[in-house]
Structure formats: C-alpha cells, structure tokens
C-alpha cells in the first residue's frame, strides 16, 4: 500500500439513515495535489472528517501512509497536517504559541518550532502577527494560521477542507497563493472544494464526488481534454446584425447563441481547438470586427455539471 491516502469502500451513515459517503474508493498518489470536488452536501467534508478521525467510520477503511485511521489514529495522523472546516483558535494564544502547542504534540522541541514556525508564518504571510493574540484576528488571518499549523511539523500529507471558504476575495487570493506555493514542495495534498476555478488553478488531479459517490478521478488536463463543449464569449467593435447571426447559428459545432448586448454575444460550441480556430475565421468572414474571442467559464465546470446532472 504505497499511496499516502487510500480509501476502501468508505461509508458513513448519519442518524435517520442518511448516507453521506457511499462505498467510496480512492487512492491518492504521492506528491499529487488532488482537488476533491463536489457540490454542497456531496460528502467531501464527511470524508475528510473520517480521514482525520473527527468522525467515526460506518464501514470500509481509510489509510494514511499505510496506517488504518480507525485502528491507530495517532500513527495514521503522525505525518499529516490538516485544516478541517474553519478551525477556531484558542484566543489567548498567539500564532507562535499555537504552533508551539501543535508542534509539542507532534514531538517538536521549542527551538525546532521556533525555527520552523518562522518559516511557515513567513509562507502564510503572518510574520508580523506572530506574537499577537489570535482572539481578534479576521477569518482570513485565522485560515492562514490554520495552514501554518498544518505545515509546522513538515508533514508528508496535507488535508485541506475548503480552505478558502468564507473568505473575502482578497483572503481567497492570499490563501490560493499559499496553496500554489505548496505545489513547489514534495507534499501530497488532498483538498476539498466546491470552487471549480480554484481546483483548476491549483490542483494536478481532480476527484469528483456527488451523493457520497465518486464520479470521476483523473489528472486535471486529462479531464479537461474530455471536455469538447465550451462557451465562447465574443466582443465586437461593430454591432450585431441579424443576417450574420442566422448564418452563425448554422455553423458546424454551434449549439446555442446568446446575444448579451449589441457588441457582445456568447456561443455554445462543441468541437476541438481546430474547430474553434475555424469559427473565429468564419466570424471575421461575416464582417465582425473581433475585439475579444475567449472561452467563458471553466471547461471543468462543463464536465462537472454534466457529471453531476447524470448522477442525479
């Protein structure tokens, strides 16, 4: 069992018979950054809570670095750093004291925590707040401290549960920058999210889940390659005119046309890159002065929506 995270038929039933995770099988490869994607209530957080010993497992197995989380949570979580939900901190401790506490629980000496603490607080851009009590910190600041404590002991596996959830746009960008930075290191990262752009931006692999079941699991690029349906946003310098639009609707691959304003419209297009380039030429041939011609929305979103739709 070489993979750092292995889920075998993992199942979680809540009271009243609600099955949150249903026979989930997943193997996370070493040094991959896997986005665990699904809509609200899909079972992402429940899976992560079982992995981090916050919830009991109804049936199945969860292994971290080859150790069964249910039978030996202490050893299983030994080389794991986790940020689950939005943790609250002990308000009377400073970030550095929090790191000392978490580090001590993991067997780190005070000088070791001091040196490493400096590194991780710098990584999450919290150095200047290192000795300020956490009590009054904003949610974004707390989330960055949460990331720091997950990294303090130099884990091999990092588990993140919607790390940008509830943050303002600036906070989201800051946390995402930290996540991108983590990719440069040899961590295995398993991150739940319902934000498609976030997953596409930072992850190498994606596992799609809905109703507690795994729908797809592959490299981001491989999944994107499967997507041949795109929405194209076109902005023109001249005005939309009826005759050209009728012709446009008849072009191969065009499945839908939405006019937003006299200078802007969307095309739902089914085809490959070659066909997309051809479409641009045809638009110009119709007399449109193209200002901008780009894919609108995320390709992953299209795949996500079609998979979610078919699973319901």
């Amino acid at each position: 069992m070489d993979d750092p995270i292995v889920l075998e038929s993992l199942t979680k039933d809540y009271s009243k018979g609600f099955r949150a995770v249903d026979n989930l099988n997943l193997r996370i490869k070493q040094n991959s950054f896997v986005g665990f994607l699904g809509p609200n209530g899909a079972g992402k957080t429940t899976t992560i809570k079982m992995l981090t010993n916050l919830l009991t497992v109804t049936s199945g197995k969860a292994y971290m670095n080859g150790v069964d989380v249910v039978h030996d949570p202490k050893q299983a979580l030994g080389a794991v750093g986790a940020v689950v939900e939005t943790p609250e901190f002990y308000p009377y401790l400073t970030p550095m004291e929090t790191l000392e506490y978490m580090g001590a629980l993991r067997g780190m000496s005070k000088p070791e925590v001091a040196a490493r603490g400096k590194e991780v607080l710098e990584l999450v851009k919290m150095t200047e707040w290192a000795t300020t009590r956490i009590g009054k910190f904003s949610k974004g600041m707390k989330q960055r401290v949460a990331l720091a404590q997950a990294l303090i002991h130099e884990p091999t596996v990092i588990i993140l549960d919607e790390p940008t959830s509830g943050l303002d746009p600036r906070g989201m960008v800051e946390v995402r920058d930290v996540l991108k930075d983590l990719r440069k290191h040899d961590y295995t990262i398993f991150m739940s999210s319902h934000l498609l752009n976030e997953v596409q931006e930072v992850c190498t692999d994606v596992a799609l889940i809905d109703h507690g079941k795994l729908l797809a699991y592959d490299k981001v690029d491989a999944l994107l390659a499967k997507v041949d349906h795109k929405r194209l946003e076109i902005r023109i310098a001249n005005k939309v005119f009826g005759e050209a639009m009728d012709k446009l609707r008849a072009f191969e691959g065009v499945t839908e046309l939405n006019i937003i304003s006299e200078n802007q419209f969307f095309i739902d297009f089914k085809g490959n890159d070659e066909g997309q380039a051809e479409l641009l030429l045809k638009l110009q041939g119709l007399g449109y002065k193209i200002v901008s011609f780009k894919e609108s929305g995320m390709a992953l979103e299209n795949l996500y929506m079609s998979l979610i739709k078919s699973s319901r």
Partner: protein, 281 residues
C-alpha cells in the same frame, strides 16, 4: 523548505503533560485562575481581620481556628472552582470549534481528556491548598500548633474537589454547549443535589449515601469532637400524629469511598463519551 517524512511522535504521557501545560496556560491567560485565588485570599483576610475587630477573640483550639475560617465557604468555593475549570472543558472544544484544531493531531482522545483533567486537578489542589494552608499557618501563629483535624478536613476537601471536577467533566462530555454545561454543573452541585439530600434524607428517612454533596458534609463535621452521629427526632404534632425528622451524618470512611467511586466512574464514562463523540456541525 525541506519536506521530511514522519518524525517520532511523543509518548502519550508526554502529550498529556503538553495538554495540561497549555490548559493551565489558558486559565492563567483568561484570568479565571487569578480571579479565584484573589477571591480566596480576600475572603481569608476578611475572616481573619473582622472577628477580632468586632471584639470576638480567635479560638484557642487550632482545629476551631481553621474551622472558623474555612467552614462557611469551602463547599461553595469548590463548586465555583469546578464550574470555572471543569464544566466547559470538553464542551467548549465542540462549541468553540477549537476541536477542529486539536483533534486532527496525532493525539488520542483519552490523552486530551487526561491532560485537561490533570490541569483541573492541579488547579483544584492549588485552590484548596491555599484556602486551607493560609488559615492552618495563621492558626499555628496564633495557637502555636497545627490540628490533625484541619489536615484531615483539607484531605476531604481535596477529594471532594476532584470528585466534583469528575462530575463536571462528565457533564461537559455530554453537553453540547458550554453554557448548558456550566449552568447544569453549578446547579447540580449547589442546589439540585443538596435539595435532594434534604428531601431523601431529612424528610424521606433514607440516607442519601449516593450523593456527593451529602458526603462532602464530612469536610466540616470532621472538626467536631466527638464526631457527630445520625439521629432521628420525633416531634408530636398538636391534634395528633408525629413529625419525624432524620438528621443523617455522613461517615468519613463511606465518604472517602463514595468520592473515590465518583472519581473513577464519572471519569471512565466521561472519557468513553468523549472518545466516541463526533465533531459535527
């Protein structure tokens, strides 16, 4: 930044010490501990100063000297301490969501429980020790000796504080919210159990040996020489019939056994509940 593999984890015992250290740190920073100790010292100073100031001389007997200071407030101080340091110890991790920070660490739930309980135990020992030993030493200065009865009362007070803390931890493990745990612990020890002692014992005629607050009565009774014994008073009611009033006196040996029983049983149940409790919501 190098990424290394698994480091050797500390033993359970080392982790218990770590949890204890930071829990005591919490109470120091939150000023709860300092607040309680200040209340204790102010009370002791007042009880030492006021009687001679109003013309009541100090008792000549060292046991009576200590009893004159401690007897009124020992139980209530212990109830306040338990409410402050035990009642929300577990429930706050859930309600305040700090459990999301602490529980995903490689630490057994039992270790977290024992670490927290040890911190409460140490605080209880500190609070009870200050409450008894300032009067005992003041008594030594005034009467020239230390009473063994005062030491025995101190031991019983310590045992009661630990047993009541165990009950507080049990409530904290069961209750969802901190406020509920605090209110229930306080009223259970301050009102519910004492009222049941009266109803079951004095009126019902059944010795409430099961009751922690009843057994805690030994903390004060032990100062009396000879040690009092249970008695039943029958008072004739005009117009016919009798009013029977039972005055049960807990025995020291039984009290020690019951309090140790509370410590063992409450902590085992609390630990099992805490271990099985899920972090939801």
């Amino acid at each position: 930044m190098a990424v290394t593999s698994t480091r050797e984890l500390p033993s359970d015992l080392q982790q218990i010490v770590t949890v204890t250290r930071y829990d005591i740190f919490k109470h120091l920073r939150s000023r709860r501990l300092i607040g309680l100790l200040i209340i204790e010292v102010v009370l002791i100073v007042l009880l030492l100063i006021v009687p001679p100031a109003v013309g009541n001389p100090y008792p000549k007997d060292p046991a009576q000297f200590v009893s004159s200071i401690t007897s009124t407030f020992t139980s209530i101080l212990i109830v306040i301490a338990v409410t402050m340091f035990a009642a929300d110890s577990i429930s706050s991790e859930y309600q305040n969501r700090t459990g999301y920070l602490l529980f995903p660490n490689p630490v057994k739930k039992e270790v977290i429980y024992l670490g927290k309980f040890l911190s409460t135990f140490l605080i209880a020992v500190l609070a009870v020790t200050i409450w008894y030993w300032i009067p005992i030493l003041a008594g030594l200065a005034v009467t020239g000796s230390i009473s063994s009865l005062a030491i025995e009362s101190y031991g019983l007070a310590l045992l009661y504080a630990i047993a009541a803390s165990s009950l507080g931890y049990l409530i904290s493990s069961v209750m969802k919210g901190s406020i509920g745990a605090i209110v229930l612990t306080f009223f259970l020890l301050f009102m519910i159990l004492p009222i049941s002692d009266v109803l079951v014992g004095n009126i019902g005629g059944i010795e409430p040996s099961y009751s922690l607050t009843y057994q805690a009565g030994t903390i004060d009774y032990i100062f009396q020489t000879p040690y009092p014994h249970s008695e039943t008073t029958v008072t004739p009611i005009p117009g016919g019939g009798n009013l029977t009033f039972h005055n049960f006196i807990p025995q020291v040996g039984t009290a020690i056994g019951v309090m140790i029983g509370y410590i063992i049983v409450a902590n085992i149940i609390a630990m099992v509940i805490f271990k099985r409790r899920e972090m939801v919501g």
